[in-house]
Structures are given as C-alpha cells and as structure tokens.
C-alpha cells in the first residue's frame, strides 16, 4: 500500500450511521491509495458505500449519528480528525468534488458565475470582479459556449450537461490535487455522458489532477480509469488495474458486474447476465462474505470474512473471495463465457 507517489492514503476506513432501524456499517474497513495523476474508479451498486467513502474524505458525513474510524491522509494531513478550519482549507482548495445530480447541486437562487466565484473568493484573497473573470475563463475551459453571458444566468437556465460542466469548472477553479467525481454522468443523457467523461479524462491528463471516479457503470470506467476498486456491502471486494479487473476478474460479484455490460470481445450472449437478489441490507448484513447469499459458488468457508489479498490474480490484484484460485477460471467462464481472444 505504501507508495512513493501516493497522494491520498486511506487505511481501514470505517463509517457507521446510527439510524432508526439500527446501526448501519456503510463503510467497512476500506483501504486504498491514490497516486498523483491517476484515475481511480470506485465501482459498485447503490448502497455499496462508495459515495459515503468519498464524502467522508471531504468531511461531509460528519455528524452526531456518524461514527468514523481509520485513517485518511492527504499528503500527510489526517482528514478524518481535521478541524473544521483545516477541512475548509482542504475542501475546494486541495480536494474538490463533483456530485451526481447537477440539477440540484447548484443553488437555484444565485447566478452560475457567482457560485463559481464564491469558491474562489472563499480561498483566495482576490476581489469579486477578478474572481468572476476567472469563473468565466473556467467556464470557457470546460466548453460552455458564450461563457461571458452565461455566467450571469441562473442554474435553471442551463441543461443538465451544461450544469455538470459548471460543477466541473467550479471543482477545478482552485486547481485541486484531488478531484472526486461522484457518479458525474448518472443523471445525464448517454450522449452527454461521453462528453463529460472525456472532459474529466482530459482534465486529468492535462492538469495532472488525481481523480476518484465513483460509478456503478463499468462502461464508464473502461474509458478512463487506471485502477479499479470494486465495492460491495461497504467493503472493497476486489482491487486491481483496469486490465486486471476487466480481463482476469477474481470475485464472483465482479463477474456479475462485468456480465451485465455489453462487450464486443466476448461471445454474444442471448441475454446479459444479471446478479440475482438484492444488495445486502447493512442493518442486518450477512455474516462472512456479504455477497454470499447471492453467490452461486458460495460454500462453507464463506461464513468467514475473506481478507483482501492476492488470491489468484497478479501481484497488486487483490480480492476477497475464498474460492481456490484453480476453481476461479471455470466458474468465471460460467458467467462471462470464454473470451474470444485471450
């Protein structure tokens, strides 16, 4: 886990919420590192804990009913125990976030340019007009046509894709080291999704911003991710490079995810694979491997929680599945078929 270029180190992060129905362990021992300039994708169904992980890093899940433990260091600064002032300095300035729904993520009563400028003036000692100038430049750089005029429009006068561009412009305004994009394309039309992803990928390579991309869509990941974390029921169940996860997936849940995506390098299936059942309720999560109740390969050993380690993949490719390495390729072929070229 220790890496010379590592920018963000998350170790054994646990986030629990006290709800009316009991305690929910939304994030359970999540560890990962983010290197400078890399795109790290966190993939999983809704409720897998991916957004909570990201928001906890930003300090957005703190509250009387939340218990957070573990460590998350941004270049040595411990985020989980940071003071409010330290967090304010980190938010926007060093780590910026783009949210899922651009429709509701901008304040409807303020002009778009002012909302970007507000972020700049909150951190930099410049006057409002200069910040507004910068906002317009940023809006241009993310491809918003007529940025000069559009800066004085209100959010409801923008389309969804344009609003997400505004969010991205805002997130980039202070040149953060880390960009967290929480399902940035989920609420958008398919054609716009590709544009926004391309924009994020470009910014990542041009500005060298380390990016955490949270999504439930492996198709999105395939376009831009360097490494992938697969989460299920609050745990990381597999982590590896894009190639490792796509070509040598080790965990049955990952197989299910991959099987539900159309691929041109696999035989055409009559119907896409689906993962039967529901994601676990985290109030009464199953003992052992959380995926066990939905896993057709589950066996006695699965009632113990499998450790996240290299089990059948290449070095660095770790997973939480008890299946013996030799048993994995045939089991995988059952779900995904055999690659036409390997």
């Amino acid at each position: 886990m220790i890496d010379r270029h590592s920018l963000l180190e998350v170790d054994d992060l646990r986030v629990g919420f006290q709800t009316e129905n009991g305690r929910v362990q939304a994030v359970d021992s999540v560890s990962f590192s983010l290197r400078r300039g890399e795109v790290l994708a966190i993939v999983g169904e809704s409720g897998s804990g991916k957004s909570v992980t990201a928001m906890t890093l930003m300090g957005l899940t703190r509250g009387p009913n939340t218990s957070i433990s573990g460590t998350a260091r941004l270049d040595g600064l411990e985020l989980l125990s940071a003071t409010d002032e330290q967090l304010q300095g980190v938010r926007g300035e060093r780590m910026a976030m783009i949210f899922q729904d651009p429709m509701s993520s901008l304040n409807p009563v303020y002009r778009v340019g002012d909302q970007i400028a507000e972020m700049i003036t909150a951190h930099r000692d410049i006057d409002k007009d200069a910040a507004l100038e910068q906002s317009i430049e940023l809006m241009k750089s993310v491809g918003i046509p007529g940025a000069e005029e559009r800066a004085s429009s209100y959010p409801h006068e923008f389309s969804g894709g344009m609003r997400q561009r505004v969010m991205i412009a805002m997130a980039l305004s202070l040149e953060p080291e880390v960009l967290i994009a929480d399902e940035p394309t989920t609420a958008l039309d398919v054609t716009i999704q590709a544009q926004i992803l391309r924009l994020i990928a470009e910014l990542n390579s041009e500005r060298d911003v380390a990016t955490i991309l949270i999504t439930h869509d492996l198709g999105v990941v395939a376009e831009i991710a360097d490494r992938i974390i697969v989460m299920y029921g609050g745990r990381v169940i597999e982590v590896g490079t894009l190639e490792q996860i796509f070509y040598e997936p080790q965990h049955p849940y990952t197989w299910g995810l991959l099987g539900s995506v159309t691929r041109i390098d696999r035989p055409k299936l009559d119907r896409l694979a689906q993962i039967d059942g529901q994601p676990p309720s985290l109030v009464s999560a199953p003992e052992g491997c959380h995926f066990r109740p939905r896993c057709r390969f589950a066996f006695a050993k699965c009632t113990d929680v499998p450790a996240l380690e290299v089990r059948g993949g290449e070095p660095g490719h770790r997973d939480r599945c008890h299946l013996p390495p030799a048993a994995k390729p045939p089991a995988r072929a059952e779900i995904l078929g055999t690659p036409t070229e390997a």
Partner: protein
C-alpha cells in the same frame, strides 16, 4: 411589470367591491341593525326615528343606500352614524399609530423568528430545540388580549415599569414613544414568533438536506456562510408569503385586540369601537382599507418572490413557477 400592475389593480377593484358590499349587507340585515333606532337615543318617538331615517337616507332602497355610502367613501365625506365625525379623517389620525405598531412588531417578530428558527433547526432534536418547541407552542396558544392584559397589569400597573397603555407620537417625544410601544410590540409579536420560528425551523431543516448545501460545504465555505447564504436565504422564500399577509393585515387594522388592550387608538381600535356600536360607515371604510392593504402587500410579496427566487417570474396572473429544477 406593467401588465402585472394593471392586473393587480383590476383584482383590487373587484376585491374592494365584494368586501364593501358584504360588510354593508351584513350590518344592514343584522337584527337590531337599524341605525335610525339606535341613533335616536333613549325612548325615541316614532316621528323622531322617521326624521332620522329621512335625514340619513335610511328610507331609500338598499342599492341606493350602498351607492351613496360608497360615493361618500371616495369623496371623503363619510360620517359616523354616532359620533358624526369624519371617518376618513379618523382613520387618517389612527394610521400612524397602527403603522408604527405593525412595523415595530414586524421587525421584532422577524428578527426573533429567524434567530430562534435557525437555532432550533441547527440543534434539531436536542434539549434546546425541544425547549424552544414548547415555548413556541405556548406563544401560539396565548391569546393577545390575555398576554396584553397580563403585561399591562403586572409590568404596567403593579411594577410600574411600563405605562398603562396609550400612545405618544414619535415626533413629540421619541423616548416616550418607544416606552409606550414596547409592550404592544411584544404582545403582538409573540404569536407571530411562535408560528414563524416553527415554519422557519422546518424550512431550514429541509433546506439543509439540499444537494446545493452539500456543494456549498464541499466548496470550503465557512459554516456561517453556508448557513446564512445558502440555507437561510433559500429557507426565507416561503416565509415571505406569510409575512406579506400578516403584515398587510396588521397595517390594515387587523391588530384589533392589541390596539384595544393597549389603548393605542389606531385603525384597529377604531374598527373595534365601530363594531360595538354597529356603526356601518367606519366599518366599511376600515374593512376596505384592510382589504386594500392585503391586496397591496400580496403584490409586494409577488415582486419580492420574483426577486428572491429567479425561477419565478412575474406573470399577469400571479406568481407562476417557470423552468425546471
């Protein structure tokens, strides 16, 4: 904007017509409502009553009576049946008192509601929030005439800290004016503070869960800025409607109880006295004045609404929501 004003003026004429007609009919048809009998004094003879009827035109048809009364309202020579005093003039005299009562109380109730509502919302569920909830319920439940009477009795009469009602014009003695206004303002504000702080509390709690508030935090803004610029600002929008209706009503003489308890001699108290005597001319004039104020403040609310929320545009009809989101 021009269309908006024209529409509002048309609706105002309509409202004033209906209100005046209703008041006129109700007080004419009321049992014992015959003004001539009551104006004639004790044990009048039939001829005396007839004479009064003739003199004041009560013998004419109801339509004629209404039109002559309305004529007098607009020409300004409407006279009280009993005091024979000029009604418009009396309202004019009471207006500054009513305006000062309304304005001061409004400032008080808005300040306290915002402070308490915001505090309650931030501390939602904790002991301090529960305490404020109980306090607000008590405030809402206490009638003004009772609170006002208690204040007058204990703070005014027994302790002598405050005067026993009455009004001193601001231009005469500002200190004395304030001294006389504090109790009425407080008494009138209590109910509004209770209602407004509750509504604001729930608005704030709702707004705090909005995505754009999370965005504001993620931008690295201070908590204070997040709460004031993003949460409070958006929570205030629904309050504006209430504010317009309540403030308009108080300005239009709606604070009848407060004015009477503290003997402020404002427009509301004038109306209260008129009701006691079934004195139709002041009643019609005050009701029309009140309706006028409510229509005006409704229009002001719509303009404010459009200012506060850019998604709302002023249309001819009223506040219409435009655009998505």
């Amino acid at each position: 904007m021009g269309r908006f004003v024209v529409r509002r003026l048309i609706s105002m004429v309509f409202v004033l017509f209906i209100v005046s007609l209703l008041v006129f009919l109700i007080f004419n048809k009321l049992p014992g409502g015959d003004p001539a009998v009551r104006m004639a004094g004790r044990q009048p003879t039939e001829t005396q009553i007839e004479a009064i009827r003739k003199e004041w035109g009560f013998d004419k048809g109801i339509v004629t009576q209404y039109t002559t009364t309305m004529n007098k309202v607009f020409t300004g020579d409407l006279k009280s049946y009993f005091t024979q005093l000029d009604v418009i003039n009396e309202i004019w005299k009471g207006l500054p008192r009513t305006l000062w009562l309304a304005f001061g109380a409004m400032v008080m109730w808005m300040l306290f509601s915002v402070a308490l509502g915001l505090y309650s919302a931030v501390r939602a569920g904790r002991a301090s929030d529960r305490f404020l909830t109980v306090l607000a319920l008590i405030g809402i439940s206490m009638p003004v005439f009772w609170v006002g009477a208690l204040m007058n009795h204990y703070l005014g009469f027994k302790l002598g800290i405050f005067p026993n009602g009455g009004y001193v014009p601001l231009t005469e003695n500002p200190g004395d004016w304030l001294y006389h206004m504090i109790l009425p303002w407080t008494a009138l504000s209590i109910l509004f503070i209770g209602v407004y702080s509750r509504i604001l509390r729930s608005n704030v709690i709702e707004t705090m869960n909005e995505d754009y508030v999370r965005t504001a935090r993620a931008k690295g803004l201070s908590e204070r800025r997040v709460m004031l610029r993003h949460v409070l600002r958006n929570s205030m929008i629904p309050i504006v409607t209430l504010w317009g209706l309540d403030f308009g009503a108080v300005v239009g003489g709606g604070a009848i109880l407060t004015e009477s308890v503290f003997d402020l001699q404002g427009v509301g108290q004038y109306a209260a006295d008129a009701i006691g005597q079934l004195d139709v001319p002041p009643l019609i004039a005050v009701t029309m004045f009140g309706a006028f104020m409510i229509v005006v403040f409704n229009a002001i609310v719509d303009v404010l609404y459009a200012r506060l929320d850019p998604r709302i545009r002023l249309s001819g009809g009223g506040a219409g929501r435009g655009g998505g989101g």
